[in-house]
């Protein structure tokens, strides 16, 4: 904070829309206006919103593929190393060499799924940068409606296109019911 004014710097605008339909069409217009640091906060994921915001497909799947491969290879190594090399158990008339592979499939499968599922959870937390328990948006009463029935759009002040007057006008022109300036918490 520079300390030259007595007001806190702005985090950005928060705008409430009336319906999924309204915010969807507003998002298309904000996207076309060239904003980059903005988001649409909704109680549930709106179908097609990624397109309306101009977002690309999530790349979480790549992480999960890597997780699954790690799990499968770990299980394969674990079983071969212990059963064939370290401690061959001669039971049930089953071989203790490469041809014993079919017996290893269940554990390979289970560990593939397990590590892939951990990758989903871990990947989500990393990509979304959660947990983050505090955020300037939480200070806005309007914003908090998102978890009930509010359709909220936020545009950050850090966006190069942001201006206190013009952005407000834009939000009002695309159909926002309420527009509120949110302060940065410092």
């Amino acid at each position: 904070m520079k300390g030259t004014t007595n007001s806190k710097p702005a985090y950005g605008y928060v705008a409430e829309f009336e319906s999924a339909s309204a915010i969807y069409h507003a998002a298309e217009k904000v996207r076309d206006a060239g904003f980059k640091r903005w988001d649409v906060h909704t109680p549930y994921p709106i179908h097609g919103m990624d397109h309306a915001m101009g977002l690309k497909k999530s790349w979480l799947s790549a992480l999960v593929l890597a997780g699954g491969a790690t799990g499968g290879l770990t299980a394969l190594f674990l079983q071969f190393f212990t059963q064939v090399t370290l401690y061959p158990t001669v039971v049930q008339g089953k071989p203790t060499d490469f041809s014993t592979l079919p017996a290893f499939f269940p554990v390979i499968f289970e560990l593939t799924i397990l590590i892939a599922a951990f990758a989903v959870l871990g990947g989500l937390l990393v990509i979304l940068m959660l947990p983050r328990l505090n955020h300037p948006l939480f200070n806005s009463k309007t914003f908090l409606k998102f978890s009930d029935d509010g359709f909220i759009m936020s545009i950050e002040a850090r966006d190069p296109k942001f201006s206190r007057e013009k952005t407000k006008e834009l939000l009002e022109s695309v159909g926002a019911k309420v527009v509120e300036l949110v302060e940065e918490e410092v």
Binding site: S19, A20, S21, I23, Y24, A27, V40, H41, T42, P43, Y44, P45, I46, H47, G48, M49, D50, H51, A52, M53, L55, S58, L60, S61, V64, G68, T82, Q83, Y87, T89, V91, Q92, T100, A103, P106, V107, F109, E110, L111, I113, A116, A117, F118, V120, L121, G123, L124, L128, L130, P131, R132, L133, N134, H135, L144, F146, S147, D148, D149, S154
Partner: protein
């Protein structure tokens, strides 16, 4: 995705299209805030008296489970009725029973998600919770059945001072991996589904403690579409991972039996037969819990007769598959020409110590659900409740029949024996029900019993291209009570 983005002013919205109308999943034109209030209200308001009436005995029963486990460990597994030849008594019967019940949750969340069955949204949260609690109950049994509970860590492939490694060719070890993976993945799936709803509870919380705890577990969820994008991908991936997983778990459980050479167990039909039975028993338990819950907490508009109807249909289908498997087992015993296989079924059904159990099983699992062919029966609550109670009992008898009758009549008549449970086993089994009920009641008390964000997503106006949302909103003015 490109399809969803075309403007709908000219085209007819699917919900308005002529033809057979789909029954709506949320009745009485409820709004989003009504859904939030109703579901969060269960957590925020005082529990009804009946909650305590159920909770106190459930906790006492769960305490009995603790007592019997301490008694078992301090005395020895001889306090159970297990013997030679019936070394797998109620411990394994109840393990398979509970793990089977634990299949409905992930089936509903995963398979019905992938097949885009929107009705799952009202059911999945409670079903997943039930799954977890059932797996907890299931896990207790094999843990203590190994005899020396404090040596259970030998199941994990970690280096030890004996330099012995597990036998990865054994289905029992596969089971350890399958069940523990299933539990872990189900917890992750459940938790990821809970995050947006925990955020709702956080934003509504009035007390500091609630705000902190719900806030902590909501991880600071802000519902941004940039987050939803990854969240939906994650949820889809988990569903795709859980679908083969849920089918594998009971298959692996059935390998415990099917890979042995014991007549009556050594059959290739076991994996699909066990999976169908698990889905069957799991759905029955979901209905057993949710029929009272929906009436008690006024959830009829979200958990409608349509949901119950659909679940009854799945019970009918899987029950009939199970019936097919029972008959096919008999046919194979005859058709294979194997003397031992034939005798195993002769002793199971005609002339054995447990024939009564076989007929209990057959009636409860195959005959009783047939009433669900009738539309009316699937929508009559008391009748559905009675049938699912039969199914709960029938699925327990199925495991009892498979395990006990088979072991009691082995290859040589000189090895034949009889098994009956002791009071410790009775009390333990009752105790697992106590534990299950206590956990489920606590779940109702502290977490949203229906997935709030998902239910909102199936309302007509949730679709950004629904043409008449203004009319819907007007028609609703003042109607939400």
């Amino acid at each position: 995705m490109a399809k969803g983005t075309t403007d709908s002013n000219q085209t007819v919205h699917p919900s308005e299209a002529p033809g057979v109308k789909r029954e709506s999943l949320i009745l009485n034109n409820r709004s989003m805030s009504w859904i939030t209030d109703r579901i969060c209200g269960i957590v925020e308001n005082r529990q009804p008296f009946i909650w305590w009436v159920l909770f106190v005995p459930a906790v006492l029963l769960a305490a009995c489970l603790g007592y019997t486990l301490v008694y078992l460990v301090s005395t020895g597994v001889g306090v159970w009725g297990n013997n030679q030849p019936v070394a797998w008594g109620w411990a394994i019967v109840n393990f398979v029973f509970w793990i089977g019940i634990g299949h409905a949750g992930t089936l509903i969340s995963a398979i019905l998600f992938l097949t885009r069955q929107k009705w799952r949204t009202s059911v999945n949260r409670a079903a997943e919770a039930m799954t977890l609690f059932a797996v907890v109950c299931a896990g207790i049994y094999p843990g203590f059945h190994v005899g020396r509970f404090w040596m259970v860590w030998f199941l994990a492939p970690v280096p030890n001072s004996n330099e012995i490694w597990q036998n990865f060719k054994s289905p029992l070890l596969w089971d350890v991996f399958a069940v523990s993976t299933y539990f872990t993945v189900s917890v992750i799936f459940w938790y990821i589904g809970l995050i947006p709803d925990l955020a709702t509870l956080r934003d509504r919380a009035t007390s500091k403690v609630r705000k902190f705890l719900y806030g902590l577990f909501a991880l600071g969820w802000r519902g941004g579409n940039r987050a939803w994008k990854h969240y939906e991908m994650g949820y889809l991936l988990l569903a795709a991972l859980s679908t083969p997983l849920v089918l594998s778990v009971h298959s692996v459980v059935s390998f415990d039996f099917a890979t042995s050479i014991v007549p009556g167990w050594h059959t290739t039909i076991f994996p699909p037969y066990f999976v169908a039975g698990a889905v069957f028993g799991g759905f029955a338990m979901v209905l057993t819990l949710m029929i009272p819950v929906r009436s008690l907490y006024g959830l009829q508009d979200m958990f409608t007769l349509k949901h119950i109807d659909n679940m009854a249909k799945i019970i009918l289908l899987t029950g009939t598959i199970v019936g097919y498997a029972y008959i096919m087992e008999l046919f194979m015993a005859y058709f294979s020409g194997s003397k031992y296989e034939g005798d195993a079924f002769y002793l199971r059904i005609v002339n054995g110590p447990y024939t009564w159990a076989y007929f209990c099983m057959f009636f409860c699992n195959v005959i009783a659900p047939q009433i669900f062919w009738f539309d009316k029966a699937r929508r009559t609550l008391w009748l559905v409740f009675i049938v699912v109670m039969f199914v709960n009992a029938g699925m327990w008898f199925e495991r009892f029949v498979i395990i006990t009758t088979t072991l009691a009549r082995d290859f040589l008549p000189g090895q034949w024996g009889y098994y009956s449970p002791t009071w410790v086993e009775w009390l333990m089994f009752a105790g697992t029900f106590g534990l299950f009920m206590s956990l489920f009641l606590l779940f109702i008390r502290f977490l949203p019993v229906i997935a709030i964000s998902e239910v909102k997503g199936v309302l007509p106006e949730s679709d950004a291209h629904y043409p008449d949302w203004q009319k819907l909103k007007k028609g609703r003015a003042g109607a939400d009570a």
